[in-house]
Structures are given as C-alpha cells and as structure tokens.
Symmetry: C2
Subunit: 258 residues, 2 copies
Amino acid sequence: MGANIFSEKHQITFYETDVTNTVTPAMLVNMIILASEDQTDALGVGAESVAKLGIGWVVTQYKMDITRLPKVGETVKLSTQATCYNRYFAFREFWVHDSAGKECVHVESIWVTMNHETRKLVTIPEAVIAPFNSEEVKMIPRISRPKRLTDSDQLMTKKYQVRYFDIDGNGHVNNAHYFDWLLDALPMSFLTRHNLTGINIRFENEVQYHHMVTSEATLMTDVPETIMTKHRIVMENGEVATEAEFHWEPITNHTDQA
Amino acid sequence: MGANIFSEKHQITFYETDVTNTVTPAMLVNMIILASEDQTDALGVGAESVAKLGIGWVVTQYKMDITRLPKVGETVKLSTQATCYNRYFAFREFWVHDSAGKECVHVESIWVTMNHETRKLVTIPEAVIAPFNSEEVKMIPRISRPKRLTDSDQLMTKKYQVRYFDIDGNGHVNNAHYFDWLLDALPMSFLTRHNLTGINIRFENEVQYHHMVTSEATLMTDVPETIMTKHRIVMENGEVATEAEFHWEPITNHTDQA
C-alpha cells in the first residue's frame, strides 16, 4: 500500500507568471505547497493542529525536474504524496501535470519537524505522519547537495532586504521568495533566453524580517554541453542561508521579450 | 441600461496574504485586475486584441474603500464594471464580496488608453469600449488627489531596485508591486496593529527594470481622530512615480502577530 496521493486543480494567473508569461519558480513552489497544505488539512494534521504540539514542518531541500513550466491561463493538476519517512526526515514528492495529462514538473523534497521555540529538530511524531500512509524506511532517498560556489568563481551579486510582505502567517520568511532573490541575480537577457530544466536548492539558515542578504550567482563554464548556474544567499554575518543550482536550456525560435 | 457587471469567484491562498493571514493590497489589486482581464477577454476586447490597435489600457488612479480585507482560505466574489467613459478617460469600479454577500472592498479607478510606442494618451477607440455597455459621459467622476508629502514631513524611507520578476507579460512593472514598496516603508509594529480602511493611489510615471526607487512615507499627525499615512515613490531622476495615501484604524483586541 503506497502513500495517499492528493491532487487539486489550479489555474495559472497573470500574477503568477513572468515577462514571458511563464509561471515563476517562486509561484510554482507556492502552488505545490498549497496542495500539500490542503492535503494536511484534509487529513486533520494541518499546520494549526501540528502547531498545538509545539512543532512545525520545515522544508530543507527541493529537487525539481522540469519538462516545461506552465504558461498563464493554463489549468494544471497539482499532486503530492508523503512518500516515505524515518525518525527525523520525511520525503515528499510533488507533480505538476498539464491539462493534456503530460508531466510538467516533478519535485522531490525533504522535510523535518522543528520545535517552534528552540528551532531544533524533533523526531517526527507518529500522530503527525500516520494519516498519509507514508512508508516508514531506514533511509529516505538521498538528494545530492547543490554544487558549491568556489573562491575562483566570477560572481554576479545583488542585495535584498527582507520586506514585511515576505513574512508569512507563521512569522517566517516564505522561502518561495528565495527563488526570486536567487534568480534576479542573473541578467534579464539570460533569463528571457533560457528555459529552466532543473533546480536543486537547500535551505541552511533562516533569514528574518529586515535582514540584508546578498544573492550570489555564477555561470558554470567548465562542464561542456550543459548550462548551469550556481547560487547562494549569504547573510550579513557571513552564514549561508541557501545554496542552489539551476539547470537551463536555450530557448529555440524565441521571440525577444526583453 | 447600465454597464455589464462581470463577476468571478476566487479563493484566497496563503501566498496572497501577509503575516496576519490577511490579503495584501498588492494581491487584492492583482485579483481585481484578473477579474477585469477575464471580463475584457470574455467580451472579445482583451489585451491581445487591443494590442493589435497599437494601444493598451493603463490605470492612472485607484481609490479603495475597505470594510475589511479578506483572510486566507476565504472564497470571495470579484465583480467589476466599466461604469462610464469620455473621450480620454474610462471609470471602472470593482467590488469584493465575502461568501456571506457582505461588501469587503469597493474600488473606483480611472483608466486611459496609451499608444504602445509613443507612450502617449490616445482617444479611447469606440470598438474597444462598446462591448461593456459603458455610459458615455461628459465628465467621469472625480477622484481627489492623494495628499502630498511636504518638506516638513518626517520621512521614513526605503530603497528598492526593480527586479526581473516585477516585470509583467507586457514588459512593464506590474504596479501591484508599488503597494509592497509603499507599505514596506512603514514599521512592522504599525502594520500588524492597524487595519487598512482606505487607499488613494495615483500613478504618475513608469519605472523600469533595474531602476532604483525610494519609497517615502510619513504618518500624518495634524488631523485629529484619523490615522493616515502619506506616501510617494521617487525615481533616481527625482521624478515622482506614485503618490498615495492610506487610511487606517487600530486593531482592537488584536493578538500580537509580530
């Protein structure tokens, strides 16, 4: 018996898309999280009920394989399942399918439960995970680390201050915003001429309201026939908030939208 | 015979709300614009067909009366009508009602048609306005100007650089983002302790990708028994992009969410 799959439909609005009318990675993450929130609510283990235990779910990593990102006006099917878990880690998958039933995006993610006060990991309570029919395993599937920026990389950088509207209902920065910071460090001429084919992002440290962060990015040039950018978000104290790699392909027959 | 009213339902997602789980002004604007886009598309005079005439609709002012801003999870009804117009100006109204049928927000707005290349006003073509059954009038209703900041005002300021993801499918900054810049200049302690009751915003000059803008705000203290903040967005060349006033009331019996 596998884990329950939960699905819901969503129509892409103009404000979930970019200058090329394509859904933004930040909004894609918001949508899949919406599906998982709706699943947890439907199963009676939503954020509110979990908060009564003094804990909350926190994502530590996403790995996305992207066939294509949907466009404005499309109605997509968002699906998710809590595939498996062990004492400390839960492995959740997401899928985005278009109206023809073709897979647009597959996402693997790793989650932990964190004590709200101490911000420390706690073992995943049985009551919180049981309703998903998730498989209990020794080891959850490994997701490789994003490739690291090195001292010799030529960096593109931009600074961002965390805004009031970046803070979500839990009082934390909605980490979908990290995607906007990460990608905005790349030139518009690059962003409008390439399609995203993959994302690997790892969340290391939380940023807070009013923090100033630096988004650093570099285009990898040492691997032939691949187009990959490496990224990180660095906090003012020098700690890394997030590391990420993005994979790209050139847009063929594109019309220049920039 | 009055103008056609167009309505659609919308469920508020977590990523359309703030730390108090209340819909953000930026997302409220996105939602009502979504309704008007769906109306224009349904009537065969959507942005694409209007673009074939070399023009586009541009909003110059919004005035919002807010009874209450909806919360996460609520399903609201978004309604709009192109109430009346003259040679150069169209007056459009919007309403947001909650599931009990109570009015949450009423918006008055003024629109012009602009030539895409010259960025100059053009007379509103008959073909573009006719399908709305809008009333042709000599003078559209006046909306007062937002009160101006003066040299003696104590300013709170923050700087923002226009990001890649601020640009919409028309290649322009989606002006919903202005609301985030305007309000983020206010302290979080103020924003979490007051409800918005009214907005008056006037768009003067367009900002572009990579522009640096300064958001300036002040709390008016000279009018008794009202809580009002005055705002503007100033561009690097000193021109004013946007002027706005926001009206507030204290939240009573609030739980501290900050």
